[in-house]
Amino acid sequence: MRKDYKKLMVIGSGPIVIGQAAEFDFSGTQACRSLKEEGYTTVLVNSNPATIQTDPETADSVYIEPLQVPLIIKIIEKEGVDGVLSGMGGQTALNICSELAESGELKRLGVSLLGTQPDAIAMSEDRELFKETMERIGEPVPLSRSVTSIQEAVEAVKMIGKYPVLIRPAYTLGGTGGGIAYNEQELVEICARGLAYSRIHQVLIEESVLGWKEYEYEVMRDSKDNSIIICNIENLDAMGIHTGESIVCAPCLTLSDKDHQRLRTSSLKVIKALNIEGGCNVQFAFNPENGDYRLIEVNPRVSRSSALASKATGYPIARVATKIAVGYTLDEIPNRITGTTYAAFEPAIDYVVVKIPRWPFDKFRTVDRHLGTQMKSTGEIMSIGRTFEEAIMKGLRSLEIGVKGLDSMNFTNEEIAEELVNATDKRIFAMGDALRKGWTPEKIADITKWDVFFVKKIRNIVEMENRIKSGPLTKELLKEAKYMGFSDEKIAELISRPESEIRKERISHGIIPVYKMVDTCAAEFNAETPYFYSSYGTSTEAKKDDKKKKVLIIGGGPIRIGQGIEFDYCCVHGVMALQEEGVSAVIINNNPETVSTDYDISDRLYFDPITLEDVLNVIEAEEIDGVVCQYGGQTSVNLAVDLEKALAGTKTKILGTSPDMMDVAEDRRRFSKLMDKLGIKQPESGTGYSFEEAKEIAESIGYPVLVRPSYVLGGRAMEIVYSTEELKLYVETAVKVSRNHPILIDNYLTEAIEIDVDIVSDGKDVYIGGIMEHIEYAGCHSGDATMVLPPFTLSKKIIGDVICICNKVASALEVKGLLNIQLAVKDNEVYMIEANPRASRTIPFISKATGIPLAKIATKIMLGKTLKDFGLSEYKEIDHYAIKASVFPFLKLPGVDSILTPEMKSTGEVMGIDQDFDVACYKALVAAGNKLPKGGGVYITVNNADKERVLPVAKELLELGFCIYATKGTSTYLRENGVETTTVFKIDDNMKPNAIGLMREGKINLIINTPSQMSGPVRDGHKTRRLAVELEIPFLTTIQGADAAVGAIRVAKEESFQVRSMKEFHKL
């Protein structure tokens, strides 16, 4: 039964980080909608502006504030919240709720915790308590001991009896700081790190179950102890590889019913023992030799796995968990998929679901790619098929890593052996190559500890490749290949024919995909839910809705660096706008974490890869009228030109800006020509087809220059080089230059201010959504830069110039929809860097900061409305500051340098918003996870050019009570100018005191280090930066950044800020 509350709060999970991605936008949004349905007044808090849940419509009051206990308390008090949902915002929200409960604040405020209770959190998170609880109910756990020091860890291994052992830090995200130790040296190393990461300085030393199979159960339970399993999941990768890093399938394919029931029964016992009311995830290790199992972990909340389980089964876990949290029981909650049954049942599925993680290694060339107990992936894809082969082939091509399926990587036998033993992201491809070279499935299974069942499925794919290659491509063979999930493109590649020909031939044979429904019940009941996947068979269930106009929005695929949740936000807004206009909104996407793949969002959802073939298939099946390619980031933009070609002569149109104009913006030559014509300045540039040519161009432009390959989009492999030697190194190590693959060389505007502008245009008028000034100088990727809206240093004249340029470009590109422009300002001149006629990363940020939903408006414009219809024109001033700060994965990815460069490195973003600039800065920095010190030591070492400018910063820090350490040059300068400092040695001098030693001693709490530009930023100060990352010491590499941070520190000391909801900002 529903309980009475006045106002309920949902806490989000903050920025996207490794281990916490869009799944909590999905769960938090579902939770809010679920509460609204029940008539509760809701308050939502999240620092991440790129989420759907921070939309004004999601909750009655939305706060974009840092997820910090003191701020949450302020909001609770201000709003009169009397209940907080604990389980919807991942580990972040759970930790906040634990803190609120432990500190007695909840009691003081008279607030109930809904959903997972503090004791359940403790029992599942505290390893020792978990072990005790499991032993009490007779469920087996690995031998283990919790330790708080390295010495205790060594003793714990003696108790366990043998290496390897697992090290698991308590209270961290995605296994941060954990690892496997094969000997004492490794044990010491990993424990030191793990202890540092653990919120309670505790790690667990555990018996190794490496090589055992790994199974997961998603469980729900209500207050009457009704408990059900939503889904079970089989990890193809054995124990030892984090489940977030594993390829998994659902349901479990290799468990007998008896063993499935053993694990199911155990899961139900566990959720009962932990007294969880809501959802939880239970992980098992299973010994294939003798059927023994061990309970490995329980997540007492919705998780990434539960998002996957929701999408895999159609069962809305977060929605139901929310209803349970407010007092309903499972048999009282209708199953909205069938409309006739209830939430109290176990989904039956009639397909195979595969999840494959998406790793960021394409962006980070120096990172250690090995997979283990620490998560490194940023996102994932899900695919659905009626055979395992079909699901895995669809999954691989959904990853957008440049493969068409199980492509060969041309591994040698040695490389294969290495990959199979020490898995990286490429292991499945190494398996393919091994099978191509005649390795037996048994041998591969033995090395990888995969069940040979799956290896043989991979072998089926390789055998099909051979059959296709040896031809002829008969109707029967083609049909078999399609049943196995081979794409037209893959088949075409195997027999060296064009994809379009295969498509034609396939269609002429009548081999066209059917669409099957995801309905929670394996077709037992008639379902209304429009959630489909493609397969091959004898009947299709996607009914054509002929009355309405239909528009397909192409989604953004998996979350990776450079393509985050922002694009999902845009897609969802596109859907909402279409629906507001009475148009049927159809989505194609393959990311199980997101809101866009919630079956409740669009009119019809197609869970499929986003390739030309798959998109065309949906267009044909649905008889789509228009396609939106602007919203899914590179994923959809890359398809625009090909789609337009393929759709020529049909009724289906690409909506908005024409693909040809999109191409003008992407093609350097065409774009430069246009800028020249418009009289817009661009940094001097050239194209080099060999090292010599590149060198000549660079010398004539003058170093430093910005270099990048011409054939890769999105800032990948973009670098600033300061000398010919560095240019040489670049072409030797990073990018091969040749006639076919030239490199582009741009003048790098040093110390220029960079600006991002987002614009909506209807082809005639232009509305400037927002002008954002970067805090960092140009040269730092705009996805990483700290941005301020509105500009805080630009003159009226410059802003006028910017607006003028925007108008010119928008009209020249005949933009209908969104346009993002990046500009640089140097010596009072504005330069064009690039223009992208599509949704940008900053659309949700601006929309939240100004209260104008740009993506919705742009969608309606694509349908034919004009800006006038919305009363929008020119540029709107706002009376507050919104600051976007980025979060970086450096902690999780050893080997990646933390210095910001033209190549994007951040995984997510936060927004700090306030009337006062410094408070907005404070909120942004804190929300992004920076531990702003209120006192202590600051280490300053700056290049000569920055010495003068660092002086006021140093003075203010001194005033704030900081003690200043500086290297000789900086120190001398500061002292000469009246700032007292302690001189320390440079790291390279190998003398004490130096920064590294002081950092380790805890004497340095803030670092200002501007790299010397002559030596190349990447190599300078690397050690200090790495240590700062590990010790979580804020590290500022620009004077502007330091300036902003000092303002924020003052705010932190004074604690004189307030919280405001979005409504209050926008006076809605």
Binding site: K224, D225, L253, S539
Partner: protein, 361 residues
């Protein structure tokens, strides 16, 4: 590649490939939504006379293993799958379902769009159908199917019930009887935790059972129509007679027979309940149950009778369990012995054991 056909009485023909035993078969085409437990289902005597469609598209993934058999035979007349696994996981010994069906001389057909088929069954109800490799004979076969009586019109229980009284000693103090209408071995397994078990043929009269001094009687699952004349004459009568003499527990068909014996009526469902995920509400709580039945007790027919439908299906409100107002007699339409399916309701055996140990009321 050889072709095989699944033919339905409404004239639908699905093309696929044969596996298992190569022979034609006819039967009532039913589907099960269980995602695991194919071997338990194939050997469940309740499937007698039926061609089983598995909604899960990959069947046979973990192979077959003697431990999972619910009887010594495969009772389904055929098996319809999207894909059968030729190379199963070796975790349980690695015999294939193909070999298993060959050994038991039951044909299978694979490559069928089972979801398409299931939607037709869901929409129109269960069909009579056939598996054949004779393409030319299909038209004739359809006519034959239309004329063919439903398998449940024959006395299927007779085909699966034990022919003589058998005693199983598990070293326990007390003995209970099992009236065998087609029992699954899981039932004996669960009873053996408490009792020695004496198995009686379905048509054993009450006095014979009483003579064996059993402390209670369990009425097993089984195939076919609970209101079949052969059952009304024998089992139902035995049940009526025994109910006043000893604690009684009916499972599945056993539950329906209890309903009939106490004056209730049963009916054939559109396509029944077959799977491992059926929610049942009992004493205010929901349990996930394993089910396999095509007939059900009509709750309205119990009005004025001594039976109460105290367990109800959460999805469709059908009767899932009966309880006598006065006597120690209760039933479950579902399978507390699982095999396949969840173990959540094994407490019913505890309840039966308690009643049986308590002796007569």
């Amino acid at each position: 590649m050889a072709k095989s056909y699944l033919v339905l009485e409404d004239g639908s023909v699905f093309e696929g490939e044969p596996f298992g035993h190569r022979a034609p078969a006819t039967g009532e085409v039913v589907f099960s939504t269980g995602m695991s437990g194919y071997q338990e289902s194939l050997t469940d005597p309740s499937f007698r006379g039926q061609i089983l469609v598995m909604t899960y598209p990959l069947i046979g993934n973990y192979g077959t293993n003697d431990d999972y058999c619910q009887s010594e035979q495969v009772h389904t007349r055929g098996l319809v799958v999207r894909e059968y696994c030729k190379e199963p996981s070796p975790m349980y010994g690695g015999h294939t379902i193909d070999d298993f069906l060959k050994h038991h001389k039951v044909p299978g057909i694979s490559g069928i769009d089972t979801r398409d088929l299931v939607i037709r069954i869901r929409t129109k109800g269960t069909f009579k159908g056939a598996i054949t490799e004779d393409k030319e004979g299909i038209e004739e076969l359809i006519k034959k199917l239309q004329r063919m009586p439903s398998p449940s019109e024959s006395n299927l229980v007779e085909e699966v019930s034990s022919k003589k009284i058998e005693k199983y000693n598990f070293g326990k103090e007390h003995c209970v009887g099992l009236l065998d209408c087609g029992e699954k071995s899981g039932i004996v397994r669960d009873l053996s935790k408490w009792f020695n078990v004496t198995v009686f043929p379905y048509n054993t009269p009450a006095d014979v059972i009483v003579d064996h001094k059993v402390k209670g009687i369990l009425l097993s699952n089984g195939p076919g129509d609970p209101s079949h004349p052969a059952i009304l004459k024998t089992t139902a009568r035995t049940v009526a007679d025994l109910s006043v003499q000893m604690p009684m527990f009916g499972i599945c068909l056993g539950s329906q027979i209890v309903g009939v014996a106490m004056g209730g009526k049963t009916y054939k469902m559109k396509f029944g309940h077959r799977g491992s995920n059926q929610p049942v509400k009992y004493r205010g709580k929901v349990f996930i149950t394993s089910q396999n039945h095509g007939f059900a007790v009509d709750e309205n027919s119990l009005e004025g009778k001594d039976l109460i439908a105290d367990q109800i299906n959460v999805n469709d409100g059908t009767v899932e369990g009966l309880r006598h107002r006065d006597l120690p007699l209760f039933t479950s339409q579902y399978h507390p012995e699982a095999s396949p399916g969840p173990w959540d309701t094994s407490f019913l055996f505890d309840e039966f054991a308690k009643a049986a140990k308590g002796g007569r009321r």
